[in-house]
Symmetry: D2
Subunit: 400 residues, 4 copies
Amino acid sequence: MSTSPNASPNPVIALLGRRLRLAVIGGGPGSFIGAMHRQAARLDDGYEIVAAALSSDPERGLAGGLALGLPRERCYGSGSELLKAEAARGADSKAEVIAIMTPNDGHAPLSIEAMQLGFDVICDKPMTNTLAEAQALYAAQQQTGRVFCLTHNYSGYPLVRQARAMVEAGVLGTLRLMQVEYVQGGRADESVLPGQMKKRWKEDPAKAGPSLVMGDIGSHAHHLLRFVTGLEVDAVAAEIGPIVPGRTVDDYAGALLRMQGGARAMFWVTQTAAGVENSLRIRISGSKGTLEWLQELPQELWFKPLGAPQQKFTPNGPGTLPLAARACRIVAGHPEGFHEGFANLYRDAAETIAARLAGARPAPLAGCFPNALDGLRGVEFIDAVMRSSRADGAWVNPAA
Amino acid sequence: MSTSPNASPNPVIALLGRRLRLAVIGGGPGSFIGAMHRQAARLDDGYEIVAAALSSDPERGLAGGLALGLPRERCYGSGSELLKAEAARGADSKAEVIAIMTPNDGHAPLSIEAMQLGFDVICDKPMTNTLAEAQALYAAQQQTGRVFCLTHNYSGYPLVRQARAMVEAGVLGTLRLMQVEYVQGGRADESVLPGQMKKRWKEDPAKAGPSLVMGDIGSHAHHLLRFVTGLEVDAVAAEIGPIVPGRTVDDYAGALLRMQGGARAMFWVTQTAAGVENSLRIRISGSKGTLEWLQELPQELWFKPLGAPQQKFTPNGPGTLPLAARACRIVAGHPEGFHEGFANLYRDAAETIAARLAGARPAPLAGCFPNALDGLRGVEFIDAVMRSSRADGAWVNPAA
Amino acid sequence: MSTSPNASPNPVIALLGRRLRLAVIGGGPGSFIGAMHRQAARLDDGYEIVAAALSSDPERGLAGGLALGLPRERCYGSGSELLKAEAARGADSKAEVIAIMTPNDGHAPLSIEAMQLGFDVICDKPMTNTLAEAQALYAAQQQTGRVFCLTHNYSGYPLVRQARAMVEAGVLGTLRLMQVEYVQGGRADESVLPGQMKKRWKEDPAKAGPSLVMGDIGSHAHHLLRFVTGLEVDAVAAEIGPIVPGRTVDDYAGALLRMQGGARAMFWVTQTAAGVENSLRIRISGSKGTLEWLQELPQELWFKPLGAPQQKFTPNGPGTLPLAARACRIVAGHPEGFHEGFANLYRDAAETIAARLAGARPAPLAGCFPNALDGLRGVEFIDAVMRSSRADGAWVNPAA
Amino acid sequence: MSTSPNASPNPVIALLGRRLRLAVIGGGPGSFIGAMHRQAARLDDGYEIVAAALSSDPERGLAGGLALGLPRERCYGSGSELLKAEAARGADSKAEVIAIMTPNDGHAPLSIEAMQLGFDVICDKPMTNTLAEAQALYAAQQQTGRVFCLTHNYSGYPLVRQARAMVEAGVLGTLRLMQVEYVQGGRADESVLPGQMKKRWKEDPAKAGPSLVMGDIGSHAHHLLRFVTGLEVDAVAAEIGPIVPGRTVDDYAGALLRMQGGARAMFWVTQTAAGVENSLRIRISGSKGTLEWLQELPQELWFKPLGAPQQKFTPNGPGTLPLAARACRIVAGHPEGFHEGFANLYRDAAETIAARLAGARPAPLAGCFPNALDGLRGVEFIDAVMRSSRADGAWVNPAA
């Protein structure tokens, strides 16, 4: 193994002489996404976890915090308690960054409070449950100037960034047609009756938001489409609802999209395709060629040019553009996966936050992680899909 | 190579002691689809080509017929001339089956005339350009009782038949979600200006029908969906049009479908995805699992069951059901392709026609080739897509 | 579908005004390979089957011939009887080409007799069972000047020809490393005891040759390697034998090869990889890049250049070279398979034979089908593998 | 995302109440493998890096250590200095585990010294350059009883462990045939002349060992074969050498293997397959089926049973066995890659070491990481390949 793409020095230590102090809210024992956030924070050594409020159940939260090796006094009983107590600590010990992975209804109040207390924030998606919350969070971020990173982690995959960079470089010519789909089978089992999902809060719209499938995965698909193409959705004609008999929460959505500039897109998401694992796929066609990427094979980006043989791009393989190269840790042919993509958001956020704290400018490519405006667009889109479906598929403008 | 799945005796010779006499109309020199039809007819030795009217240009037609080895007197100047002259020949020499591969506007008049003169018919798709023609053709077929085979050839692939058989056998449980797409790049090149397509008639709606993309490929996608699922389309919400600037014929369509029984489907077709070759794909999810098939890798049918490892079915591989086994000529691992699928329609039609002529019953599985009712449903669907798009995506019932 | 690569006129009819008259020996009812040869002969309409000796059992042979639609008097009781009787017929009715698909021990005597009687020959592989026979057959071909086509059909795949053409064009630079393998599972089942194979003659070395696995598939792998690289094997170090306990015939061989010019190759064949279908794979690395092809996905040829993204070539796709284009019948994206590759040999042989009969020169690219010299090299290689294995893996020169 | 396979509490903290203290030797600035080891150590939070000797150049080593956030006094100038100084520290601060990723000639002396000083060791592969060193290291490990983990990281991939577990469970029946290959293109470029490799020490046999290709990748392929099958190599017939003209170090090896119990294997490794990235592949056939795995698509394990459809296993997908489940951090469909596999070795070693320190028994499945005996077998195999090649391919017993 000859080259070492990611052996550059830790930018946080280079800027600050130490790691960022991170506090985590939510994601306690048994949580898949909590473990993922913490692994993402650790991988590139930009953060030290110093405090946690892992659960709304204080006992569970304490046990989880101790299991992370935290001292008892920094295992808090609630997110709000954590924020206030950490804000009151001395400058050389208090948390600087708050990572939020509670049920969705916690995202807005905790993020807003955190930014207003001076913390930078990394928050799980969807950004908020309601449009009003999304607007308030966005306003708070604009007002406070704090870094807000929304973990639409699929935008952290090297080849998703390669696709974006190729589109930006004009490799596809004028964009015309897109298709994005996110197909899962995790909610296909009909024997799981209403009220029986593993995470009970997912079935409560007050906690999980007005549309489960859109909050869980539709928001990812929408962000991926915007991230790669750089285009907003001008109008959507959609149908959404539960397809499994008896289910009370949405598990399917299909939509036709009219994109900014006139391109057209197909949008399809479901969690009830029995036997399918995690099939997030995007295809973008322009006047000069087509790009195709599938999350289950993230180490392959297909470029099908007009009139030349198809090409397969690989992470750090020949033709890797700078935005993608920055997201690769390893020589070509050694697969990076979900963790590394997730960690790329944490790393970019870390570099941006450390630069802010040091009064420096972050690397020019460090700022492509999803932010509060992306989150607002996502919530607007969910709202538009639901409005269109209620209007029997009428075309609806997400921004209106 | 140990077994010989397709070494059974020629059913036509077994029934009639000879091959069926076939006359071809259209598909002259330079025609891809003409060569394909004739190769499909020859592969399994069920037909002898005895007459042809290959071109609307008589000189070209004659040259083409002689190049097929036909005697001069059976190279006709037009389809209608062929039909009348062949009908007038003696019973032991005249054509029995007419294969029609003219521009689309010839399908209805030639098919109707042929059936009324007593011929059985094999006709290229789309069945007709207009709904009225489709209804008339279907009525003529019902009245005459002649065999009418519409070459939606993708239904001839072994694994498409395997998918249908698995759905019929209940392997998927209750069908819930489907996606079908047919994505090509053959019309992506913007430098081909209006009036410059290789086949000039394709740009003339009077010849090619009201919607080029739907006639060319949308009709295939629609038939494939019905063939595999056994379900009709109850309602469609669609957008269709040209996406390439300046183009006068449709090159893109997207639609949401409500299927008979409540399932939902996504439908996407285009001929302007630059660099894509011939990507016809179908996915069907039911309560017990998901099936996936892609025409560019036709030797793989994926079955993803709920709660068990994914399975890959192959033609003649383990688990092949009778409807698929009948469509395989060769031991597993030896790819069959487009020609063999096309030929399967010719073979099934030949067996059905020979049985009719012999007063016998064809093999029970010989009758699954697309027929006049399938063609009518296809034309109704094209019409519904266009009506919905004109109504800005309102839901439209194809049968109404 | 815009272009029509294979809509050129039938070259046999263009040269002779009629089809070639073909007689078939072997491949009777129940034979996979017999049906394949006849389908290959029919697909491109270069041959008319006029006579047959389908079986060593005269009754079976007669039934099979009648089922092909042949008249009773041209259904012969043995190959030798067929050759003599057809040779005695008038010039305007007698067979011109003999296709031989008997058990392997028939290949040499029938081919030699046929060529000496003036027939051109198409013969199944391996060419002969013994080295002496191979030398005699080659000498007879050289002496008579008749066309001899050996059906190493994998060399008929478009992308195998593309690979050869790319190597010839220097796209790979200097060849260094190769790997060829042919892995099947058809003889993996231990419950099939000695003497119980479906084709009984396969277990009789007098009929099937001294090494079953080498005759069945090793000869294909060896020819494929030579066909694509243009290089002979200078030396082989091998082990061969039965791997299934109790089996009396070889079912496995592995070898290291030193190729002409200094390249090195790995060679691996078996018929006992349980569950594997028909995995013939070749990889060729040169100083400028690597080519990879797998028979089970024949529509993909991978080119991995040094320092540029990997490319996927497809039949008739962008970058198709003339030798491959000639082997494609259809626009890119419509898979051709095993039948079409097989038929390409028949078509090339037909064009070459028709040109000989017409005193014309065949198209320059028509002559790449495997011939008697290729067959001799194949038998020499089988012999060398066995000699090396008997000498406990000592390096052996196939030509010595 | 419903389940959380890897949300179990940190076993090290559970056992010790803290992380293990790790010191790293080698892998300084610019080293790919150094960054990888440290990321692997961090991912699961079982270690805290407390000391380093990153480079044989003390200045470089100090800079690198500071960039890791280490205090100056624990940035050492050499590995031996680190070992002595850390051994002399107090029990509550000194390093407990030593990770060694120096050039290969450092592995033996540093590992032996470390174990003799009481440290547990994690060491990069190949274990040693010479057979004598390997035997000495193995003896030291046996004598000291310290944990020794050799980072043959491919054995950390979930589906490699699934393959091993399936073989152990008898899913394949009796093993018969294997093929393992490791094909790279990183040394294909002829313009890199002798003495010009990026890592200069790689061309010095005193540092990199007697056979570069075997040390770099052949040792991985050999270990993978043993790990999955549980079988030792009884005899090898090989050829090895440089294939690129002018090169002084081995870049190619091919071998036939006779495995314990009578199975046969093919072995092929090279670093000069231009354009190939990191293609480590293994196939295992037994009497009941075949397993296939390719490192470049690590999230797919193919099982091809005798007489049933092929199955694709995925990490944490249906059918995952306990040994594999333990190596998965995430729900099925979210790819884990090279980092996670590497980290699995660190995690298993951490759990084993922590258990040793706590006087507890580690989880029964924690002990499958490669150990000193595996390393010894690897060095014996390299030696046997070279002996066989020098003897012109004679069969050689690695253990003799």
